[in-house]
């Protein structure tokens, strides 16, 4: 058993830290306030290859391993969870399914522009009446001549506002349940796709969360991802990897809040001594560290299993659950350590508190993760 990062991982971590310190961290407050990541920052992130981290070199990616990608999401999310999910949703939910289930032509057609950030990727599964119950989607497709025609509504699409490439799920026949679902690679600027605006939300406010109406959208036959009827399987496999990305995002948020709390506790004096000298605060910091370290171990383990191409669905469910609950707890306590200042935007832990909550919800709520874990425990 080896708990050390390799030289490659350390290099990636240092590279990501340089980017975060110089570009992402200084922009984090504005990203939240302006409900968007500054386009020049998105451009810098793209140019440095962060949107193609583990895409193979033949498709213009950086060809890193999955653990390197997880390290990137963690480092970025320490400073800005909105930027973390930009990279994570793009990579885990769009690049990854194409990489795993796409044909060679599809990989050649879509991956290079995704790897370079020319197109930003997203994932269109959730609908107004189908969230956790994802097999119950109502968006339909029919075959017509040389194409598929899609109709329906999609909501809560992370990165939707970039109008890049989407993995869209639709059913040919709802009575067939999950077996009726297929996945399509769709350019979101295709005619018939109408974007319905950006949601106002609690946290990750710099991340686009948009709805789409699909009205007779024509998708070329060659853009069916996998075989017909395999869509639901593709969605589940995609989310298995994606959850490790969300776990890394949550871990990063928790670490960011912890680092600030520790620094603040050492600096802030009340009753003639630093907060760090008060046992009530020391125990908060100790509990934060306990939870962060456990979250980190299971998140890296899930990433490692995926790197080894081993089964990782249960570990990724556990990583996402532990890390997200760590993030919501740690950020809440981080505000408490900061007292009134913690409630003020400038101190950033209030943003982290708002950002943390979503990690318990998206890519499968924690209730759904517990169903996955329980099923495995009882099998």
């Amino acid at each position: 058993m080896d708990f050390e990062f390799s030289e490659e991982h350390l290099l990636v971590q240092e590279g990501a830290r340089d980017l975060v310190e110089s570009k992402i961290k200084p922009a984090a407050i504005d990203t939240d306030k302006n409900h968007m990541i500054d386009p020049t920052l998105v451009k810098t992130i793209s140019e440095l290859g962060y949107l193609g981290a583990y895409i193979p070199e033949v498709y213009s990616g950086a060809d890193l391993d999955f653990l390197s990608y997880i390290i990137i999401i963690e480092e970025v999310s320490k400073a800005c969870a909105s930027t973390g999910i930009l990279i994570s949703a793009h990579t885990s939910l769009c690049c990854n399914p194409i990489l795993q289930s796409g044909t060679e032509t599809q990989k050649q057609n879509f991956l290079p522009s995704l790897a370079t950030g020319e197109k930003i990727g997203c994932f269109l599964l959730t609908e107004p009446d189908s969230g956790s119950d994802a097999a119950n989607i109502r968006t339909t497709y029919v075959e017509k001549e040389d194409a598929y025609i899609l109709n329906g509504n999609k909501i809560f699409v992370t990165n939707g506002g970039y109008l890049g490439i989407g993995i869209v799920f639709a059913t040919r026949d709802r009575s067939q349940g999950y077996k009726g679902i297929s996945a399509f690679i769709v350019d979101l600027s295709t005619s018939g796709i109408e974007i319905m605006g950006n949601e106002e939300k609690l946290g990750i406010r710099g991340s686009y969360t948009t709805s789409f109406a699909l009205d007779n959208v024509k998708v070329a036959k060659e853009n069916l991802l996998g075989k017909e009827g395999e869509g639901f399987k593709i969605a589940l496999e995609t989310l298995n990897g994606g959850r490790i990305g969300v776990a890394a995002q949550a871990l990063g948020i928790a670490e960011g809040a912890f680092d600030r709390s520790r620094a603040y506790a050492k600096e802030r004096k009340q009753f003639g001594k630093p907060l760090a000298a008060v046992q009530a605060i020391q125990f908060k910091l100790a509990d934060m560290k306990l939870k962060i370290e456990s979250a980190k171990l299971i998140t890296y383990k899930a990433a490692w299993l995926k790197c080894q191409k081993m089964q990782h669905s249960v570990e990724s469910a556990m990583a996402k659950t532990i890390a997200s609950e760590t993030a919501t707890w740690v950020t809440k306590e981080a505000i408490q350590v900061h007292g009134g200042y913690g409630y003020i935007c400038e101190y950033e832990v209030e943003r982290m508190f708002r950002d943390a909550k979503i990690t318990e919800i998206y890519e499968g709520t924690n209730e759904i993760q517990r169903i996955v874990i329980a099923k495995d425990v009882l099998k």
Binding site: E7, L11, G15, L48, G49, A62, D63
Partner: protein, 260 residues
């Protein structure tokens, strides 16, 4: 043009450094490339990109120093030499300069670029000593480099009375200021390529150097003890009417602080 660039691995001074019984607590320290050396690497890569140059980096230090070399590779440096020898653990600037002299002589370089100082010791000795030992011209605190022709550079440096522009014949040594450029962020693809590149590792024996030859028998300077800087007292803050505050501050400055 053949350029030799030097890089030092230093403690990340932005994180808390603790001193205990005259020694720096090693536990939990993180290391980074010396910030001025990042400027030296950037200046080197820019010369390569704009004028064409063969670039070699040298880093002396323990096994973790390879990370500094790979980071420089990711920024665009082509060759790396790692001098890794436990005998160098207590080396001072003079010792390092003597080792670098040998590296230079083995390589037929036209230009040496170093950071103007290291952020751990803040000495700023090594580059200047090296130039002296090699008997080549040295310009310190450089803020711009322009290639005049194959044998000459026009460099700007910040001196006592402003910017000085100096024509310098090659071979020469420049120590660069942090205002010369903004070091590029390494791209992920560069990091990936950096991982695959070879690093030449050398011990003192490989370089045919003895401790005597590098003035380390005994070492010329030695750090006896570290002392943590004393914590600054918190200042006083005054709020309210400007005239009242001014009167109060003047009174405090003359009666309490006794500075006026």
């Amino acid at each position: 043009m053949k350029i030799l660039t030097t890089v030092k691995k230093v403690v990340d001074v932005e994180l808390n450094i603790q001193v205990k019984e005259g020694k720096i607590v090693q536990d939990g320290l993180q290391y980074v490339m010396n910030a001025w050396d990042e400027n030296a690497v950037e200046a080197t890569v820019q010369l390569k990109e704009n004028n064409g140059a063969e670039t070699t980096l040298v880093c002396m230090g323990d096994s973790e120093s390879t990370l500094m070399i790979r980071k420089a590779y990711a920024m665009g440096i082509e060759n790396g030499i790692h001098v890794d020898d436990p005998l160098l653990e207590s080396a001072d600037s003079n010792g390092y300069a003597k080792v670098l002299k040998k590296i230079y002589e083995n390589g037929d370089y036209d230009l040496i670029i170093t950071g103007k100082q290291a952020q751990d010791t803040d000495n700023g000795h090594t580059g200047i000593m090296l130039a002296e030992y090699l008997d080549i011209p040295c310009v310190s605190n450089v803020v711009a480099i322009e290639v005049v022709d194959e044998s000459q550079l026009a460099v700007s440096r910040i001196g006592d009375s402003g910017t000085e522009i100096i024509n310098v014949n090659l071979p020469a040594l420049l120590t660069v200021s942090d205002s010369i450029n903004e070091p590029r962020l390494p791209a992920l693809r560069g990091i990936m390529m950096a991982k695959k590149k070879a690093i030449e590792t050398k011990t003192l024996a490989d370089l045919e150097l003895t401790l005597e030859q590098i003035d380390m028998q005994p070492v010329r300077t030695e750090i006896l003890e570290y002392q943590a800087p004393s914590v600054r007292q918190a200042g006083k803050k005054f709020e309210g009417d400007a005239a009242e505050i001014t009167a109060k501050v003047v009174q405090l400055l003359s009666n309490e602080a006794k500075v006026i």
